[in-house]
Symmetry: C2
Subunit: 368 residues, 2 copies
């Protein structure tokens, strides 16, 4: 399935950074923490809870507390930072704290953190007493441009990412640019991979804009445009029956590499680092299968290898990676299913790839 | 909120036991297991799984296997019978088996069993890979007239019933009357409580019909009418914002008694036994608060005490029961919320009850 006509006017969106409308909720960019305070005040909530990790608890929660004022009463649920906290055991911990705090169906959960917090908090809220309201305040670049928009919640079991989850939309998303400006470089790079992906699958102009921008700290406008692209896709196809699969570019191989690294490496790859590898491999598959030109493959490979450190992969890892790919949610009837590029800015979904093709793509990366 | 005009034609439904239409799915009564085989054949499923417990695995699965034929290939996931299996730990077990069996998003889960199987299986399926299809084949009277219809899924944590769950509709429900005809008397009584409740909240004629029927093995028509009442309610209000709360009659106190018994008794009360106690207590509250007449209170108490064994409760249990009621999902802002009767066949929702009122209602039961 080719998606040629779907994305044609993304950059026509003005970048005054007006509030974006998503599926029955708003994504706020301007004075977003004040908007959060307004949202809570206007909502008929019995009480609210803030889910944080030890990092956002230290660096972002104080700003939230200041905005809500001294008299605001809310309980804080803090988990450890890191992907390990997305395991079902931590989700049970969040549920038990909501029980202990006496949360009722009129409670609101504010997810203050990166993708782990929004995925886990979204799942915990969407299933607690069959669903309480939640909003996201994403604090990393990755969660701003990816996890916070689109209504996918998820937790891991046995390190299988997002194997359990729901499609449940947040009631609002608050994008606070100041959180991004102090992020470590590696965290910026992790989010940047998804921004680059948005250009590759949907908008060559945005890809070119990214290439010519200072990406050490991406501008608020670049973040806005990235979210606007993702938002457009998920509005069209909330449950990933069609066009939303375009967002999976780089993720079939990338997720396998990410899980492999999580299991085997002391200093695991970040999501974006793994997805960058996945995008290089899947661009190679695109060159072999869906008409991406050699020049475009070289361009993508060049941009990604200049931004991301090389990761040591060799043929001995192939079978383990393949086993992980077989567990990918996107598979149908045991076949491994990739989103590939036709050209930069245009993709095609539902491409079945054979084991041999996938191994060849991994070899392309290894031999760079 | 009074519901007087909502239920007025239930018994006008013909009892030819035609397939009922629910929220985007059908409830089959006639040749239902053949309909199941048709459903699976017509569905574009990659594979299917049957969730059973050791009882349904022994008594009901053989009939299913016979219907599907010798060549049908499907995997069976068997759990222990009993409410304990609804704990999150067993749900994790079901998820892991689905992972190990290689279930993909095109898989179907058939829940063959009582309410534990349909609640747990529905939750596991609704969250596996963000949701796979599931159908219910309820094998107990209780699950036929209650759990299988309406799209509530749920699991327990720390014995708090259905504290975690989703609203997800099954893709079909298959009501097989032959499963009911061989049930132990105590299991029939457990389901009968919900049937009596349907009469009390919605339809005095149905209540009178039940009173004059042989209830040792309720007829297929009585079951059909009970499901028709419930189905009408859940179609109107799938997410329990209003009229669906009528189904909670007897359940505020009943659930607390059920959980208390599960924790403290070696031979715990069945759901229906606990709900019968809850209905007696909440009929007393209805007499005190919402206009149920003394004659009606006596009538309800008489019918329920003649059907259900007395359970030993005394004032020493009150605080523990109250603590359990405080954890009830139906509460709003810490207030305990009951559905009560205005008269037999008509109820009112959202009645806040004080601790003193609840204790008085418990004393009414104790002093019978």
């Amino acid at each position: 399935m080719v998606t040629d006509t779907f994305f044609d006017d993304t950059l026509a969106i003005d970048i005054t950074m007006a509030t974006l409308q998503s599926i029955n909720y708003s994504i706020y960019f301007d004075n977003s923490l004040d908007e959060l305070v307004n949202f809570v005040a206007k909502g008929d909530y019995s009480r609210f809870f803030v889910l944080t990790d030890e990092n956002t608890g230290k660096h972002c929660l104080p700003l939230l507390k200041e905005k809500f004022g001294e008299d605001a009463k809310f309980d804080i649920i803090e988990i450890n930072a890191g992907e390990e906290s997305k395991d079902i055991d931590f989700c049970i911990g969040v549920w038990k704290m909501l029980i202990d705090f006496g949360a009722d169906r009129q409670s609101l959960l504010i997810n203050l953190g990166g993708g782990v917090i929004s995925d886990l908090g979204g799942f915990a809220a969407s299933t607690f007493k069959r669903g309480i309201d939640f909003v996201h305040v994403p604090t990393t670049l990755l969660s701003q441009v990816d996890a916070s928009v689109g209504g996918k919640t998820g937790i891991d079991i046995d390190s299988i990412k997002n194997i359990i989850g729901t499609f449940t939309q947040p009631k609002a998303v608050f994008i606070e640019y100041s959180f991004i400006q102090t992020l470590p470089a590696r965290q910026v790079l992790s989010g940047l991979a998804e921004m680059l992906k948005h250009g590759l699958i949907a908008d060559a102009s945005y890809w070119n804009l990214l290439k010519s921008s200072n990406l050490t700290v991406p501008s608020a406008e670049l973040i806005y445009l990235s979210i606007a692209i993702k938002n457009k896709v998920v509005i069209e196809d909330p449950h990933e029956k069609g066009i939303r699969k375009s967002l999976n570019f780089g993720h079939t191989i990338g997720h396998a590499v990410e899980t492999y690294s999580l299991i085997n490496d002391e200093d695991s790859l970040s999501h974006g680092e793994a997805i960058a590898i996945g995008m290089i491999c899947e661009s190679y598959l695109s060159y072999k299968k869906t008409g991406l030109s050699k020049a475009e493959l070289d361009e993508i490979t060049g941009v990604l290898t200049s931004l991301y450190p090389a990761y040591s992969l060799n043929a001995e890892n192939n079978e383990a990676l393949y086993d992980l790919m077989l567990k990918d949610k996107k598979n149908q009837r045991g076949k491994i299913n990739c989103t590939l590029l036709d050209t930069i800015g245009q993709c095609s979904i539902d491409n079945i790839c054979t084991k041999e093709e996938l191994f060849e793509a991994l070899a392309y990366y290894t031999n760079l």
